[in-house]
Chain length 111, copies 2
DNA sequence: TTTATATATTGCAATATTACGATTAATATA
DNA sequence: TATATTAATCGTAATATTGCAATATATAAA
């Protein structure tokens, strides 16, 4: 049906999937890399950097904001975006946990 | 247009986004967690575990396989799936890199 | 060989995503 | 106040994803 059966899964599973979904587009990865490299993080700079229309960039920024991966601060007529270290750290921890479990259990793997 | 402008981004950006996309569904997170917990990793067990039709599970497994996140081994009439430690480790490293960069640069953040 | 079991594939309907032009909203400046 | 600048929102077209019933495929067992 093209709709996800959210009710069938745990909150944790849904939240993790939502985070991954926000990261699941090369433009959004590019935005994150841009924000990593640049101290100044004005929205217009991202529009200049990427070959996408302003409306499209704005939409991608909105998704990153919804996932709480970035934070926007109004600076006069411009908006300054930056990465939310806390959420990236949490995501990092979760993936670390999975990977470490995987490495530890490696001996009992069946294929 | 609903199609991603893949050509506009680097190989690394596209590959990372593809990995995240494969992880961007609660059912696929649930499958990964199931494979983490269970030594036996028969496809049928996953179908019993999750409230989705067999065809749907099969589709999700296919996406995880395409992303190389899981490996399937034929065992008679059944198929034994397990997580691909190598790819999880690579993903873990990439996210570690981003997070560490973020923590280090924290002093120069603009918002 | 027939039958049962396990998984993949196909076809389709419902919904979501991506992209952009046009417009709107809000602030700064002349 | 009028105008320019910056970013968000709206509307729409094209494409992708999710989910399932039905069917196909492949192997094991009788």
């Amino acid at each position: 049906m093209g709709i996800t059966k959210t009710d069938s899964f745990t909150t944790n599973q849904n939240e993790l999937a939502t985070l991954f979904k926000a990261l699941a587009h090369p433009a959004r990865i590019a935005i994150i890399e841009f924000l990593l490299k640049n101290e100044k993080c004005i929205c217009g700079d991202i529009v200049d950097e990427l070959p996408l229309a302003q409306a499209t960039i704005s939409q991608h920024l909105k998704e990153l904001k919804n996932a709480n991966l970035i934070i926007g601060t109004i600076e006069g007529t411009a908006i300054c975006y930056c990465l939310n270290q806390e959420v990236f750290s949490e995501l990092n921890n979760k993936i670390n946990l999975i990977t470490n479990q995987l490495i530890t259990k490696n001996n009992s793997k069946c294929c």
